[in-house]
């Protein structure tokens, strides 16, 4: 008997993801996101200053007492930015998974029948067609200002992205012969979809997630800018940024810290996504 005696083991998927994350690129991303997230989580420990304590010392530049300076109401920006990171992360960490879950479920639903597909597709159209402003206004109007409207708007905004990406992936993968083979082997439709097609269709969702997380911060900022964000005076990166816009010309350091935080987050998400993607393709 001839055996191809090459006991070469390919790494299990989980192992591959871990290896990908531990690549230089992935590590950089992890460190960036981790550092920012940690700063946000540990905000109460890292700073003793109340982020909402005001003083007459408005718009001070960075200094010993205020590492990042103060805002227009004399509040310590260091403390505000740290607490803001915490708030933003809490928002996107709740909103993005919810949006992803809903979007992906919708895509899976669409895969069950032609009618479901049509309905889901048109529902995405509808969801996307409403300008964000209107959506934000309506949700805030119904729920009152606070965190939940922001979470809901971010989640709603992410649904079609996830849904469409996944649907496109499923459409392509399900025509592949291995899916047919699984069906011939006796797998139920659900099993073919979930066990065979889905794992092959989720690759684009890695980039989608990086973009979605970044867009979450982005949407939070836009809502703050329109006065529809988290209830003041609670700091968020977006609210600090939108406040700082008025002082871009005169006090550019005001905007520097929140911008640095968002940039680090976005870059971190991107690097992690890229590392994961390369890991998969390897």
């Amino acid at each position: 008997m001839t055996t191809a005696a090459l006991p070469l083991k390919s790494a299990a998927p989980r192992g591959r993801y871990r290896a990908a994350l531990l690549s230089p690129r992935g590590l950089t991303g992890l460190v960036l996101v981790g550092a920012v997230a940690l700063a946000g989580l540990l905000a109460p420990l890292l700073t003793g200053t109340d982020p909402n304590a005001q003083s007459a010392l408005a718009l001070a530049g960075p200094g010993a007492a205020h590492p990042f300076g103060t805002d227009d109401l004399g509040r310590d920006l260091y403390s505000r930015v740290l607490h803001g990171i915490g708030t933003d992360l809490a928002l996107i960490v709740t909103a993005v998974p919810v949006g992803a879950l809903l979007g992906c479920s919708a895509a899976l639903l669409a895969a069950t029948s032609r009618w479901a597909d049509l309905a889901v597709q048109r529902a995405f159209d509808l969801l996307l067609a409403f300008p964000g402003l209107i959506l934000a206004l309506a949700v805030t109007a119904v729920l009152g200002p606070g965190r939940w409207p922001v979470v809901i708007v971010i989640a709603l905004a992410e649904i079609p992205g996830y849904g469409r990406q996944l649907r496109a992936g499923i459409l392509v993968q399900r025509e592949r012969e291995y899916a047919l083979a699984a069906r011939v082997g006796g797998a139920s439709r659900a099993r073919v979809l979930l066990r065979h097609v889905l794992p092959n269709a989720v690759d684009p969702l890695i980039v989608q997630t990086a973009v979605a997380l970044s867009l979450g911060v982005f949407i939070e900022g836009a809502m703050s800018f329109l006065g529809l964000g988290v209830r003041p005076p609670e700091p968020t990166l977006g609210s600090i940024l939108s406040q700082s816009v008025a002082y871009l010309a005169t006090h550019p350091t005001f905007a520097a810290a929140p911008l640095a935080a968002t940039t680090a987050l976005v870059l971190g998400f991107t690097l992690i996504a890229e590392a994961l993607n390369r890991g998969i393709r390897r």
Binding site: N52, A53, Q54, A56, A58, D72, L73, G74, L137, A141, G144, P145, L226, G227, L228, R231, P232, P233, S242, Q243, V245, A246, L248, A249, T250
Partner: protein, 497 residues
């Protein structure tokens, strides 16, 4: 071609320093006109005096000066007012202006749909007696102290095109400029009225009003010379322009309105007036003026600006920042750790003010929950008396005859206001101050003082600061004035090179 140059040249090249004909003045404003509020004072009142005229015009000391009315006479009992009108006035449509147009203008304001704030004053006119085309006697139901406020306020429209005017498609008046084009939300263009009754006026070929909602962009348009003039520069931005030789900054002491905390006097805790007074003591008004208004404003516990006959130094400084006193009052009222809802407009400026107030109140033990809402929502709550316990907004109408405030401005209205405040004493003193034909006699002054005293005692409207009305003009724009209601008067304006 460079669009930058092109935008600047829109003003036309004029070279002398003296009043010169020519050029288009560009005015930047943050908000578009609301055509249906043409006959009311709203957020944008720039066009009223461009396309229209009023009967009289106040000087700096609230003394009426002739405009369309050349002379006037009030009967001793204050019930008959006889007006002599200009005879050489044509509407933009070419029709001659006569006494009938004044009759129409007054009747127009009596129409509730016009939402005119001075409707109550217009409504006192019960009859018109014409002596020919250019003389007219108004018969009043009772004397009023703010009749000339009405004449300053009331623009005279063309009665034939009034419906077009309130939809913003056609503004036919007797004013120095005629509307030539409107892009809603974006711009209004005016051209010189060649048949203007004021000889040699206006100097300008035209006026362009640009609506630039974003404050930073508005500032940039001024700094790049794309626009010449604005009244919507935020105080903190104006502060950065003071030393810039390219700009002239002028602050009107009439103010552009006053920031206040409104209180629902039927709400829990704040129904006790000691709590309201405590709030008045708790606020650091100086910091508010510095941080929220960029220093362009005056600390004040009363609604009156310095130009008002009711203004007194003692009244303005009645409440100071005194947290101890506030705490003491709260202790006395048994309201030491209370939480109150606090509504404010969700725009950047009001949000900053609300946060400052929230912080100051917290220092004396009053927690507040901020409730940002957009301005239509605020307005609906205001009119329908559904505001929460506290809110902050700004009000106008204190810059005129004091009675006007209490009969025309909703927060102070004695009959019905958002605070649900009613007191026979307040009603009485307000009515007495209003139902008289003079406003500067010692008696009148005493009444004004009484009004002030009620306001300071009851504090259903807690005044914080009079916001500065800041005119930021590029070097080239000259001779620009505003009337007491903020109507832009460009009769004498011109552009230099």
């Amino acid at each position: 071609r460079s669009a930058v140059e092109h935008a600047r040249n829109a003003a036309g090249a004029v070279d002398a320093d003296s009043p010169r004909r020519g050029g288009v003045l560009t005015v930047a404003t943050g908000i578009d006109i609301t055509p249906s509020l043409l006959f009311a004072v709203s957020a944008n009142t720039l066009v009223q005096r461009l396309a229209f005229n009023t009967l009289t015009r106040y000087d700096d000391r609230l003394r009426p000066q002739p405009e369309l009315a050349t002379a006037w006479e009030v009967s001793p009992d204050g019930l008959n007012v006889t007006l002599r009108l200009r005879e050489d006035v044509l509407f933009h449509s070419g029709r001659r202006f006569t006494a009938d147009d004044v009759v129409f203008a007054v009747r127009n304001l009596q129409n509730p749909a016009r939402s005119a704030q001075l409707r109550s004053t217009a409504a006192t006119v019960t009859d018109f007696r014409k002596n020919g085309d250019f003389e007219l006697t108004l018969v009043l139901a009772h004397p009023v102290s703010n009749l000339f406020d009405l004449f300053e306020f009331m623009i005279v429209p063309d009665r034939e095109s009034i419906e077009d005017a309130v939809t913003g498609t056609r503004l036919i008046g007797t004013g120095p400029f005629a509307l030539t084009g409107r892009k809603p939300g974006s711009s209004l263009s005016f051209a010189r009225n060649e048949q203007y009754w004021n000889p040699g006026r206006p100097h300008l070929d035209g006026v362009e009003i640009r609506i630039i909602p974003q404050a930073e962009s508005l500032l940039s348009s001024l700094r790049t010379g794309q626009t010449h003039l604005s009244y919507n520069v935020r105080g903190k931005d104006a502060a950065t322009l003071v030393d810039d030789p390219r700009f002239r900054i002028k602050q009107y002491d009439t103010g552009s309105g006053a920031h206040y905390i409104g209180v629902d006097v039927t709400a829990e805790h704040v129904r006790d007036k000691r709590v309201r007074q405590a709030i008045a003591w708790a606020v650091d008004r100086d910091r508010l003026v510095q941080q929220a208004l960029g220093g362009y404003g005056t600390v004040s516990s009363v609604p009156w600006p310095k130009s008002s006959p009711a203004y007194t130094e003692a009244g303005a400084t009645h409440y100071r920042h005194d947290p101890e006193r506030a705490r003491a009052l709260l202790r006395e009222a048994g309201a030491e750790h209370i939480t109150l809802p606090f509504a404010h407009s969700n725009e950047a400026g009001p949000t900053a003010i609300a946060q400052i107030l929230q912080y100051d109140l917290r220092q004396v033990g009053i927690e507040t929950v901020l409730q940002p809402a957009d301005s239509p929502t605020m307005q609906k709550q205001l009119i329908s008396q559904s505001m929460p316990a506290l809110w902050t907004l700004s009000h106008g109408f204190a810059q005129l005859q004091p009675a006007t405030l209490a009969v025309s401005a909703y927060p102070f209205n004695e009959a019905r206001n958002s605070s649900r405040f009613a007191s026979p004493a307040y009603t009485d003193v307000v009515q007495r101050a209003w139902n008289r034909s003079d406003s500067d006699s010692p008696e009148a002054r005493a009444l004004h003082q009484q009004i002030t005293d009620v306001l300071l005692d009851e504090e259903f409207v807690i005044d914080l600061a009079i916001a500065g009305l800041v005119e930021v003009a590029g070097r080239r724009a000259r001779g620009v004035t505003l009337n007491k209601f903020g109507y832009l008067n460009l009769d004498d304006a011109y552009l230099t090179a």
